[in-house]
């Protein structure tokens, strides 16, 4: 009888260690998100007023950037996983193009975030200004550093794919880096409405 239901994989893709890191990061950011939401209750007016000085447009564009870069990463992984036989070099070239696209978007995210930070700092705002900006700077700068680390990881994966280093059987490193990048995306998906929209 043909098997119609695909069996579930016992473990997530990539190195198992990255999933421990991902779950720890989720808890850390989760506590900060909850901390922000609870702190907001102590002075709703202050949070609402401070939020007006944020650039929602940049936050929105950055959301689209991260979502699309994550999509590019999945396409890169699929290029390797679904490569036809004897297409090893072509598949790696294809993957490297997707990776390059994702990295460029990641860099654009950092540039836009730097522009936003510059405007905030030029206005004389810092961590001590008030509770809202303490959380805003803490959360977004912490996330910024994760994007930066993600780009370093993607850079390494890109180099390996440029040298045709991934095969259909051996691409765990690429999946590991991809999983980390999706974490960065997932965190921003919660961060954007929480910090920029809800008031």
């Amino acid at each position: 009888m043909p098997q119609t239901l695909q069996a579930k994989s016992p473990y997530p893709v990539g190195d198992f260690a990255i999933w421990i890191i991902i779950y720890v990061e989720l808890i850390t950011f989760g506590l900060l998100f909850i901390g922000y939401a609870i702190a907001r209750r102590s002075d709703v007016a202050l949070f609402n007023t401070s939020q007006l000085s944020l650039n929602q447009g940049i936050g929105f564009v950055n959301t689209l950037i991260l979502i699309t870069s994550s999509y590019f990463i999945v396409k890169a992984v699929q290029s390797i996983k679904k490569m036809p036989d004897n297409q090893h070099i072509h598949a790696n070239q294809k993957a490297s193009r997707w990776l390059l696209g994702a990295m460029l978007l990641g860099m654009l995210f950092l540039i836009l975030k730097t522009v936003e930070f510059s405007a905030i700092f030029d206005a004389g705002i810092n961590l001590s200004t008030n509770t809202f900006f303490m959380f805003y700077l803490l959360l977004t700068m912490f996330h910024f550093m994760h994007v930066l680390l993600g780009l370093v990881i993607l850079g390494n994966i890109y180099q390996k794919s440029k040298h045709h280093g991934y095969t259909k059987e051996d691409h765990t490193g690429m999946e590991t880096g991809a999983s980390y990048w999706h974490l960065v995306d997932l965190l921003w998906i919660v961060l954007f409405p929480l910090i920029y929209i809800i008031h």
Partner: protein, 85 residues
């Protein structure tokens, strides 16, 4: 589904435009915050299922980020809706 990844990406873009529109047009109220939190949950779940690929993995690994997402958004919602003394 063959194009599930593209559909997931399209939904993520659509919900992001929706979220931005709420903020841009200043139509944030109790009703729309609930919708915003719900769409944020759907967006997160799409990333978990289709980008992280946890849909095809044993349930436990998928449940951890899903429960995280649910709890975080639930607490955000509660802190928004509960009356302040």
């Amino acid at each position: 589904m063959k194009n599930s990844l593209e559909i997931a990406w399209g939904c993520l873009v659509f919900f992001s435009i929706f979220a931005f529109s709420l903020g841009y047009f200043g139509i944030i109220n109790h009703f729309f915050v609930a919708i915003l939190l719900l769409t944020t949950f759907i967006k997160g779940q799409l990333v978990i299922d289709y980008f992280m690929g946890l849909k095809s993995v044993k349930l436990g690994y998928r449940l951890i980020p899903s429960i995280w997402l649910f709890v975080v958004l639930l607490v955000i919602g509660m802190s928004y809706y509960l009356p302040i003394n």
